[in-house]
Amino acid sequence: MKLIKDGIAKLSFVALLVTVTAAMFYAPTASAHGEKSQAAFMRMRTIHWYDLNWSKDIVPVNDTMTVTGKFHVFAGWPETVAKPEISFLNIGIPGPVFIRAGSWIGGQLVPRSVTLELGETYEFKVLLKARRPGDWHVHSMMNVKDGGPIIGPGKWVTITGSMSQFTNPITTLTGQTIDLENWNLGNIYFWHAFWYAFGIAYIAYWARKPVFVPRLIACEAGKHDTLISAMDKKVGIGFMVATLAIVAVTMESTNAQYPITTPLQAGLLRGMKPIEMPARTVAVKVDSATYRVPGRAMQMTLTVTNNGDSSVRLGEFMTASVRFLDPAVHEDDTGYPDDLLAEEGLTVSDNSPLAPGQTRTMEVTASDAAWEVYRLADLIYDPDSRFAGLLFFTDEAGNRQMVTIDAPLIPSFI
C-alpha cells in the first residue's frame, strides 16, 4: 500500500512538472533587440529609415509621444528576401509598454498590412501612449511577409509614473465610452467561473461515492450495467438540459444587450502614397568599394556629377541606420541615438563645394566602431557581397538631397 502511495505521489509530482513546463511553454516575446543579429545585407539593402525623430525622451504614463520619419524602400531589394507586397508598419518595443494609438504611412492610417513599392520613399508616423514605467528601447520596424522583421534604429525612452493609472478610453459607434484596458473583464471572469463551477458540480456528483476501485472491479467482473442507475441518467440529463438552456438564454440576452456587433476587420490596404521626391540633381557612380577589416572602415571611390544649379557637398553616408557624418558639412541636431551616429565618421578626399555642371572623383571613407558593434562587417560573409546605403548632399541653402548607392564590395584583410 505504502509503495503504491509513494508511486502515485511520484507520478503526481511528474505530472505537476509536466504541467508547469507546459504552462511555461509559451509566453509572447518580450524582446525587441534583434537588430544586431539580423544579416547585414538585410539591414543595408531593404528599408532605409531616415530623418527619424522620437518626440520625447521621458514620457509620463497616459501621455503620448511620436516616432516620425521617412523610409526608403530600396530598389535593389535582395533576391533572397520576399518583396514588401504584404508589409506591416510595426513598432519595436518589448510588448505593450506603450499602446500604439495610431500609425500612418503617407497620412493613411495603417492598422493593417500594406503594399509597398520598391524604389519609393514614404513618410510614416507612429503615435504611442505610455503605459508601463521603465526604460524602453523604441525602434521603428517594418514586418515583411516571408521576409521577416526589418528593424530600424532604436532609442531609449523612459516612461515614468504608475501603470495602475493607465486608462484607455474609447467611444464606440453605439455611443458608449469604455476603458479598453479593463472593459468586459468582470463578464469574462464571471462566465469562466460560472462554467467552471458547473463542471465541478457535474464531476462532484460522480465523485460523491468511491470512483475508481469499485468501478474497475465491477467492470472487470463484467457487471458494467450495474454502475449507472436510472437516477444517474436523470441527473445527467438534468445537467445537459441546464447547459443547453443556459447557453440559449445567455445567447438571447447577450444579443438583446448588444444588438449591434460587427465582425473582425481584416484585409490588405493598398495604394500607400509615397513622397513626391524632387528630381535628383546629383548623380553618383561607385567606381570601387573596399571594406578594410583591420581598420573598420569602408573606402569608396565615387564619381559625382552635379546637374543642379547650386553647388553641393557630401555631408552624410547612412547604411543600416548607422550615420557617418562630415561635421564640416552636416551636424545632427535631432537627438539621433549616439551609438548609431558617427559624428566625424566620414572623410572625403576633396569636399569643397562641387559647382553646378562639375564632375569630381572623390575618395570617401566611412569609419567607426559601429561597423563592428552593429556587426555590419559580417557583410563580407554574405552570399552576395554587396553593400548599399544612402548619400546625403547638402546644397548652399542647406537643403539635403538623398542619393542611393548599391555596388559590389571587396573585403581587404591586410
Binding site: 511553454f25 509572447p28 525587441a32 468586459n184 464531476i203 473582425l264 490588405l268
Partner: protein
C-alpha cells in the same frame, strides 16, 4: 483471511483506502491530461485561442472544436469503457482551461502585461458536458460521436458569445471602422506578430451572407464527429492492458 489476500481488514477500511486512491488518481489524471492537452492545444489552435482579435466567425469557430474534441474523446474512451465513469470530457476540458488560465494570467498578463480581456481562453465546458451526458445516456460510442460531436461543435460559438459580444462593438478610429477586439490587437503591440499573420474571416463560405457563424459551427461539428472517432480509438488503444507471456 491470510495477509496475502487483502491489505485491508474491514469494509470501512476498504472504502477509506479506495477514497485515497480516488483523490490521488483524480489529481494525477487532472494534471496529466492538462499537460498533454495544453501543449496539443497551444500547438494546433494557438493564436486562435490566445488573442481576441483572432476569434472570428469562421476559422476560430471551425478550428477550436475540432482540435478541442481530441483529448475529451480519448479520455472518455478510457474512463467509460474501463470504469463506466461519465465525466471524461468534462475533466479534460477543465484541465485544459485551468492550464490556459494559469498561462494567460501569469505569462500573458503577469509577465508581458497584455490585458486579460485581450488574451482570455475560449470556453469549452458546455460542449464537454453534453458530450459526457450523451455517452452516459446512450452508452454508445457512435451516438456520442455523432450527437455529442455535433453538439460540441454547435455549442462552441453560443457558449462563448456572452464574453465575446462586448468585444465586437464597432468603433470609428481615425477614419476606419474596427471592433474593440481589432482595436485591442492594434493597441497592445505584439512585436513578434505582424498583422498579416492573423488568419481571420478567410474562407469560401460567402454565399451565406452575414450568417457565417452557424454555417462554420455546423461544419466544425461534422469534422468533430470524425475527429471524435479517431481519438476515441487512440484512447481505447492507450487504455488497454496487454499482458505478455512470461517464460
Amino acid at each position: 483471511m491470510s495477509a496475502s489476500q487483502s491489505a485491508v481488514r474491514s469494509r470501512a477500511e476498504a472504502v477509506k483506502v479506495s477514497r485515497t486512491f480516488d483523490w490521488l488518481i483524480m489529481f494525477t489524471l487532472f494534471f496529466v491530461i492538462l499537460g498533454g492537452y495544453h501543449v496539443h492545444f497551444m500547438l494546433v489552435a494557438g493564436d486562435w485561442d490566445f488573442w481576441s482579435d483572432w476569434k472570428d466567425r469562421r476559422l476560430w469557430v471551425t478550428v477550436l472544436p475540432i482540435m478541442g474534441i481530441t483529448f475529451p474523446a480519448a479520455v472518455q474512451a478510457v474512463l467509460w469503457w474501463r470504469y463506466r465513469i461519465p465525466f471524461g470530457a468534462t475533466i479534460s476540458v477543465m484541465g485544459l482551461l485551468f492550464g490556459e488560465w494559469v498561462n494567460r494570467y501569469f505569462n500573458f498578463w503577469g509577465w508581458t502585461y497584455f490585458p486579460i480581456n485581450f488574451v482570455f481562453p475560449s470556453q469549452l465546458i458546455p460542449g464537454a458536458i453534453v458530450l459526457d451526458v450523451v455517452l452516459l445516456v446512450s452508452g454508445s460510442m457512435q451516438l456520442t460521436a455523432v450527437i455529442g460531436g455535433l453538439g460540441f461543435g454547435l455549442l462552441f460559438y453560443p457558449g462563448n458569445w456572452p464574453v465575446m459580444a462586448p468585444l465586437h462593438l464597432p468603433v470609428e478610429y481615425n477614419g476606419m471602422m474596427m471592433t474593440l477586439a481589432d482595436l485591442s490587437g492594434y493597441h497592445y503591440v505584439r512585436t513578434g506578430m505582424p498583422e498579416y499573420i492573423r488568419m481571420v474571416e478567410k474562407g469560401t463560405l460567402r454565399t451565406f451572407g452575414k450568417d457565417v457563424a452557424p454555417v462554420s459551427a455546423f461544419f466544425s461539428g461534422f469534422v468533430s464527429i470524425i475527429v471524435y472517432f479517431l481519438w476515441h480509438f487512440f484512447g481505447r488503444w492507450f487504455g488497454s492492458t496487454a499482458f505478455t507471456k512470461g517464460s
